[in-house]
C-alpha cells in the first residue's frame, strides 16, 4: 500500500463526480414529478419479472438481430467492466494495486473477460458508428434527429472508445513494467499481451503511462456519468425504472378519465353524489385540472419518465404506419419533444441548456406562438401529427424499454377535443352521428336491425325443398 496525495485527490474527484450526479438526478426526479399522479403501485412480482426480461434480459431488442447482438456486447461489457470499477475505487482510495488479485483464478477470469469484452466493445462501437453515420440505417434520420441528437449519439460512441483505450493503456503499461522487472502481473491479459510492443521500454515511463490510463479510465467514467443526464444515453439507468413502471394492462385499454365518469354518472342519475373537489390548505377548492394534456405537467409522471428513458433509436417511428407513408407523425419526436419541453420549462440539464439548442428544437411556427400557446401542444407537437395516429400500438410494441408514445398522443387529443373543440370537421361529424344515431355513420337507428331481413341458412343433409 502506497498511500499518497494521489489518494486524497482521488477521494475529492470521486466525491465531486458522484455528488454532482446525485444533484443532477434530483433535478430530473423533480421534473418527472411535475406530471400528474398515476397509480403504478402493486403487482411487484409481475413488475420485477418484466424488468428482468425486458430491461435486464433485453428481450425486445431481439426483434432485430444485428443491433441486438451489437448492443448486447456493449451492455454486457458495461456491466462486467464496471466490476473492475469497484477495484479502481478501492485502489484509488487506499493506495492498493489491483486489490482484487487476492481472488486468484477469479481475478484472471475477470481481467481476461474484461479485455475480451473491451475489444468486442470497440468492434461493436465501430459498427454502431458506421450504421449511424454511413447512411446504413434509415431510422437514425428524420426531422427530429437534429444537430444535437446526432452529435450526442456520436459523443457517446467516442467516449466508449476512449474508455476502452484507457483500460488497455493501463493494462498494457502495467503488464510491460512487470515483465521488464521479471515479475508476473496477476490476472490474465489476452489482448494487452499483444500490445506491449507499442509502448517504450522504460519502467518509470510505463509506470507513468499506467497512471495515465488508470486516471483516464476512472475520470472518464465519472465525467460520462455526469454527461448522462444531458444525453439520450441516460437510458442505461432509466430503462430499468421505466420498464418496472410500464403498464401491465392490455395495450388496447386506454386510460379512464375519472372526473368525466363523475360528470356522466351525475347526468344519468341526478341523485349521484359527485365527490367534493380537493381543497388547498387554506380551504379553497383546487382548480380542476384540464381534460387531457396541453403541456408536460398535464401528462402523467410515467409519460415524463418515458421521455428520460428514450435513447432515440427510432424503432417506434420506423414501424409507425403514419410515418411510413410520409405523414408528419413520428412517435420518437413526441417523446423527444416531451423531454425538450420539460427541460425548457423546468430544470434544464447541466451541459446543454435548451436555450442553446432550443430554437432549433421547436416546431417551425413557434415564433408566431404567443406565450399561452408556447406549450408541448402546438409549441412542439402539432395537431397534424396527433391526428395522423391510427392508435395501432406498433410504436408501443416496438420500444425496447416499454415507452408508450400512444398514451401521450391520446392525452393531447383529449385536450384538443374536450378543451378546445378542435377536432377535424370529419371527426366532429362522426361525434354528432354517435350522439344522434348511436352509430358513427349517418344511418337511422331504426334501420339497425335491417341486416336480419330475409336471412336464410342452407339446411344440410336434406333433399326436401322447403319454400
Amino acid at each position: 500500500m502506497h498511500f499518497s496525495i494521489q489518494n486524497i485527490i482521488f477521494l475529492l474527484v470521486a466525491l465531486a463526480g458522484f455528488g454532482l450526479f446525485a444533484w443532477q438526478a434530483s433535478r430530473i426526479r423533480a421534473n418527472v414529478l411535475v406530471g400528474r399522479d398515476r397509480d403504478m403501485s402493486g403487482h411487484v412480482n409481475e413488475r420485477l419479472w418484466k424488468t428482468l426480461l425486458v430491461a435486464f434480459g433485453q428481450q425486445k431488442m431481439f426483434k432485430r438481430l444485428t443491433p441486438a447482438f451489437l448492443h448486447l456486447i456493449v451492455y454486457v461489457g458495461f456491466i462486467v467492466i464496471n466490476i473492475e470499477v469497484i477495484e479502481i475505487m478501492v485502489d484509488g482510495l487506499f493506495g492498493t494495486h489491483r486489490f482484487l488479485q487476492f481472488t486468484g483464478p477469479f481475478y484472471s477470469a475477470l481481467t481476461g473477460t474484461n479485455e475480451i469484452l473491451g475489444a468486442l466493445v470497440i468492434v461493436a462501437v465501430v459498427a454502431f458508428w458506421w450504421r449511424r453515420n454511413g447512411n446504413v440505417v434509415k431510422r437514425f434520420t428524420g426531422p427530429e434527429m437534429r444537430a444535437w441528437p446526432k452529435m450526442d449519439a456520436n459523443i457517446i460512441l467516442y467516449v466508449e472508445v476512449v474508455l476502452m483505450a484507457a483500460l488497455f493503456l493501463m493494462n498494457t503499461a502495467d503488464l510491460k513494467a512487470y515483465q521488464l522487472q521479471g515479475l508476473d502481473l496477476p490476472g490474465a491479459y489476452p489482448i494487452s499481451q499483444f500490445l506491449t510492443g507499442l509502448l517504450p521500454d522504460s519502467v518509470p515511463t510505463l509506470h507513468a503511462l499506467e497512471r495515465v490510463g488508470w486516471w483516464a479510465h476512472i475520470v472518464g467514467i465519472l465525467l460520462f456519468l455526469n454527461y448522462l443526464p444531458s444525453s439520450k444515453h441516460f437510458h442505461i439507468i432509466m430503462a430499468f425504472p421505466n420498464v418496472y413502471f410500464s403498464r401491465l394492462i392490455p395495450q388496447g385499454q386506454f386510460s379512464n378519465v375519472e372526473s368525466i365518469t363523475h360528470e356522466v354518472k351525475a347526468m344519468m342519475d341526478p341523485s349521484y353524489a359527485v365527490p367534493a373537489p380537493a381543497t388547498n390548505p387554506d380551504g379553497s377548492a383546487v382548480a380542476p385540472a384540464p381534460f387531457g394534456a396541453k403541456d408536460v405537467d398535464d401528462l402523467a409522471w410515467t409519460n415524463l419518465l418515458n421521455a428520460y428513458s428514450c435513447t432515440e433509436c427510432g424503432r417506434c417511428t420506423s414501424v409507425c404506419p403514419a410515418n411510413i407513408t410520409g405523414k408528419l407523425l413520428s412517435p420518437r419526436k413526441i417523446i423527444m419533444d416531451t423531454r425538450d419541453r420539460m427541460e425548457e420549462k423546468y430544470n434544464a440539464p447541466l451541459l446543454f441548456s435548451p436555450a442553446l439548442y432550443g430554437a432549433e428544437a421547436k416546431h417551425d411556427p413557434q415564433e408566431q406562438l404567443d406565450k399561452e400557446n408556447h406549450t408541448l401542444l402546438r409549441g412542439y407537437v402539432t395537431p397534424e401529427e396527433l391526428w395522423a395516429c391510427t392508435t395501432c400500438n406498433a410504436c408501443v410494441e416496438a420500444c425496447p424499454v416499454n415507452i408508450n408514445p400512444l398514451d401521450s398522443i391520446i392525452e393531447m387529443r383529449r385536450f384538443l377535443v374536450l378543451e378546445e373543440s378542435a377536432a377535424p370537421n370529419a371527426l366532429n361529424a362522426m361525434f354528432s352521428n354517435i350522439e344522434n344515431n348511436g352509430a358513427p355513420w349517418a344511418f337511422s337507428p331504426s334501420d339497425r336491425f335491417n341486416w336480419a331481413d330475409d336471412l336464410f341458412v342452407a339446411e344440410k343433409g336434406t333433399l326436401e325443398v322447403k319454400s
Binding site: 368525466i260 391510427t390 354517435i434 344440410k460 326436401e464
Partner: protein, 299 residues
C-alpha cells in the same frame, strides 16, 4: 352440395323478446355499427348468424337497442361522448343480465372487454375468431360440405385491436387452418403487423398529407405475399411499388384471399385491392364468411 340443400329462414332472436318470455340466452351477439349498417360487413354478420343458427347456439342480439360502444369517440379523444355511450350500453346489458358477449368487431371487443369494467360493466367478452376456434375444436364446425378452399392461397391480415391490443394472434389462424388452404404469412404479421390505416378514428376522416395511403402500403404487401413476388416486398416502405397488375404465377381456381377479422380492415383492404385492380383474382373475406361458405351454410 348446393343442389342437395334446402334453405330455411333464420329468425334472429332479439333480447327484448326473450326477456319478455322470461328467457335468457347463453351468449349475446354484439353486432356493432359496421355489422349493422355497412353493406359489406352486414354479409359478415349474416354469415356469423348462419353459423350460430347451424350449430344451435343459444344466442340473442340487442337489435335496435344496440348503440355504438363509443370506441371511435374514445380513440379520437372525446372521452365524454365515449363514457355516455358506454354507460348507456352498460345499463342496457345489465338490464338484461348479460354475462357473456361475442362480437365480430375487434374495436367493440376491446372496448367492452377492457374499458367497460372501469365504468361498471363486467362481462366475459369473446371475439368471433376465438368463438369460431372453439366451435371447430368442439367438432361443431368442420368446414365441410360447402365451397372448397383446398390449395387456395390465403393470407391473414392482423387487426391491431385483436393482435397487439389484446394478444390474439393464434385463434384466427387456427380458424383458417381448418380450410386446408395454402396459408402464407405477410412479412409484417402478428406483433409486427401493419395497421390497415383505419384505427384511431381514421376511418371517418381523410388522412393527413403524406406520400401514400396506409391501406395501399398494406394491400401491396398482401398482394406481393399472395403472388410470391419478393422483390416488391423488399421495396415496401412507403414507396409506391411497381406491383404487377397480374399475378406472377397463375392461381388455383377461385383466386387468392386476404382474410380479415375486423370491419375496418375489411373496408381498407377491399379498397386497396380495388385500387390495385386485382378484384378479379383476389378477394377479401372475413373469417366467418370463409367458415360459413366452407360449411355450406350460404343460402
Amino acid at each position: 352440395m348446393a343442389e342437395q340443400t334446402a334453405k330455411r329462414p333464420v329468425s334472429v332472436p332479439v333480447m327484448a323478446d326473450l326477456a319478455a318470455r322470461g328467457e335468457s340466452p347463453e351468449i349475446l351477439f354484439w353486432v356493432g355499427c359496421a355489422g349493422a349498417f355497412d353493406d359489406r360487413y352486414k354479409r359478415v354478420t349474416r354469415a356469423f348468424v348462419r353459423i350460430l343458427d347451424h350449430v344451435g347456439v343459444n344466442y340473442a342480439v340487442l337489435g335496435k337497442e344496440e348503440s355504438c360502444t363509443g370506441d371511435p369517440a374514445k380513440r379520437a379523444g372525446n372521452e365524454f361522448l365515449f363514457q355516455m355511450q358506454a354507460m348507456t350500453n352498460i345499463a342496457t346489458l345489465d338490464g338484461y343480465g348479460i354475462k357473456k358477449v361475442v362480437t365480430a368487431c375487434p374495436h367493440c371487443f376491446n372496448t367492452i372487454k377492457n374499458e367497460y369494467p372501469a365504468l361498471g360493466g363486467e362481462y366475459e367478452v369473446i371475439h368471433h375468431s376465438t368463438f369460431l376456434q372453439q366451435l371447430i375444436n368442439e367438432g361443431k364446425v368442420k368446414a365441410e360440405g360447402g365451397e372448397s378452399f383446398k390449395g387456395r392461397r390465403i393470407t391473414f391480415h392482423d387487426s391491431c385491436y385483436l393482435g397487439r391490443a389484446n394478444d390474439i394472434y393464434e385463434a384466427p389462424r387456427a380458424v383458417l387452418e381448418v380450410l386446408d388452404a395454402d396459408l402464407v404469412e405477410m412479412k409484417r404479421c402478428k406483433t409486427n403487423g401493419l395497421c390497415c390505416g383505419a384505427g384511431g378514428a381514421q376511418m371517418w376522416k381523410d388522412a393527413e398529407p403524406g406520400n401514400k395511403e396506409v391501406n395501399i402500403e398494406r394491400t401491396e404487401e398482401a398482394l406481393a405475399t399472395l403472388d410470391g413476388t419478393d422483390a416488391v416486398l423488399n421495396n415496401l416502405r412507403g414507396v409506391e411499388s411497381n406491383a404487377p397488375a397480374t399475378p406472377a404465377s397463375a392461381k388455383a381456381a377461385g383466386g387468392s384471399v386476404i382474410a380479415v377479422a375486423c370491419p375496418f380492415c375489411m373496408t381498407m383492404m377491399a379498397d386497396g385491392v380495388k385500387n390495385k385492380e386485382r378484384e378479379q383474382d383476389v378477394q377479401v373475406f372475413d373469417l366467418a364468411e370463409l367458415i360459413a361458405s366452407a360449411e355450406g351454410l350460404n343460402a
